[in-house]
């Protein structure tokens, strides 16, 4: 005799564009293009120091200020790149992907089982094992499950019914305990 275990919770998921874009940035910050952000901050603090210390203060010539200038100039360039340019590019790309996501995953129903979750949409049925998820990011508003920086599952907490919210939140925290990151925004 076979028996199918009942799901722990059934949730209708409908992330907004803002939630999806925010999720992409969170994942990129952990395992994608924005991962080197702390290194960039440290480098941007060291570069002006190197630039100023390599500047020959008593024999100024055009050729001697070339390298110090490049080093000092690299500091704002690095900060602008990691805090503005790259996030803007990622936001723009994510907004583009959301168009397809919103069609394919429209009104998707997610069922959580002990070891896996099943997402049913108008077009697809996706079966994702928790063991194959490399990361779970929790913010005050979202759970973001990621296999890699490209494939993410967004679970807005507002979509979880009140009666199962506490139980499901505790379950997800436990299921992803070693791979769970708590973040407030994409930077911290």
């Amino acid at each position: 005799m076979t028996s199918q275990k009942l799901s722990k919770a059934k949730v209708l998921i409908n992330p907004t564009k803002e939630e999806y874009v925010k999720s992409v940035l969170l994942v990129e910050r952990q395992i994608g293009y924005l991962r080197p952000l702390p290194i960039a901050v440290i480098a941007s603090a060291i570069l002006p120091f190197l630039g100023l210390s390599s500047f020959n203060w008593f024999r100024v010539s055009y050729s001697s200020i070339f390298l110090p200038l490049i080093l000092c100039f690299s500091c704002p360039v690095l900060l602008i790149y990691f805090f503005y340019l790259q996030p803007s590019l990622l936001k723009e790309r994510a907004a583009g992907y959301y168009k397809t996501y919103s069609v394919i995953m429209k009104d998707s129903v997610m069922e959580f089982f002990d070891d896996n979750m099943v997402t049913k949409t108008q077009y697809l049925t996706l079966n994702d094992s928790y063991a194959l998820m490399s990361l779970c990011i929790e913010t005050p508003e979202l759970f973001v499950l990621a296999k890699d920086s490209e494939r993410i599952i967004v679970i807005p907490k507002r979509c979880i019914p009140m009666e199962t919210r506490e139980e499901l939140t505790a379950f997800l925290r436990q299921a992803f305990a070693p791979r769970r990151k708590v973040m407030k925004s994409w930077i911290f």
């Binding site: 010539s61 055009y62 050729s63 001697s64 070339f66 390298l67 490049i70 992907y97 168009k99 397809t100 996501y101 069609v103 394919i104 995953m105 949409t121 077009y123 697809l124 049925t125 996706l126 079966n127 994702d128 194959l132 296999k147 890699d148 490209e150 494939r151 993410i152």
Partner: protein, 179 residues
């Protein structure tokens, strides 16, 4: 007789096929700006060499001229040598990380939709939802956003099926082709 507007195919993509297609796709995407990179690289090398020999005249120290030469060589070789090596490495890591690429997947192509079935995904997607597709010498690769990637090696297709698949994609997703 083989029905040409609907065919079923079972696919297990190899790492070499996946990496080769990724390198090809990246090269096509880069081709929009890679001539600019190569020309900039050549210009920097010329400027750096000039700096090494006539640095005083053009106000370049030997160290700065050396940096320019190195940067120029990097930019000049980026598209042809460096990027393909990096892309192949990234694709190999991606292949190992994506467990669904290691499952056999059954695809059923019809006039305007593709039915997908493997250990993770089951369902039917309209071809009009394909956001990006490319035909390489070895395979067809189609992406439906970030959610689904369909890879069909040509070694599994007859000449007629290749024509059919190409025409299905050209008819239903003409703007999504990477040219």
């Amino acid at each position: 007789m083989e029905q040409m507007d609907k065919f079923t195919i079972s696919v297990l993509v190899t790492k070499d096929e996946y990496s080769g297609a990724h390198v090809f796709e990246r090269h096509k995407i880069r081709s929009r700006y890679s001539p600019f990179l190569t020309i900039s690289g050549i210009a920097l090398v010329v400027l750096g060499i000039a700096g090494l020999f006539y640095g005083r005249l053009i106000m370049l120290s030997p160290a700065a001229a050396g940096c320019l030469v190195l940067l120029g060589i990097f930019l000049g070789l980026y598209d042809g040598v460096i990027a393909p090596i990096l892309d192949r490495g990234a694709a190999s890591r991606d292949y190992l990380a994506r467990e669904e690429l290691q499952f056999a997947t059954t695809y059923v192509f019809s006039n305007n939709s593709v039915n997908v079935s493997n250990g993770r995904v089951q369902g039917e997607i309209p071809v009009s939802l394909v956001t990006k597709w490319i035909e390489t010498p070895a395979l067809f690769k189609m992406d439906v956003g970030r959610e689904l990637s369909v890879i069909i090696p040509k070694r599994l297709l007859s000449e007629g099926q290749i024509q059919t698949l190409r025409s299905i994609l050209e008819k239903n997703a003409p703007d999504a082709e990477i040219k």
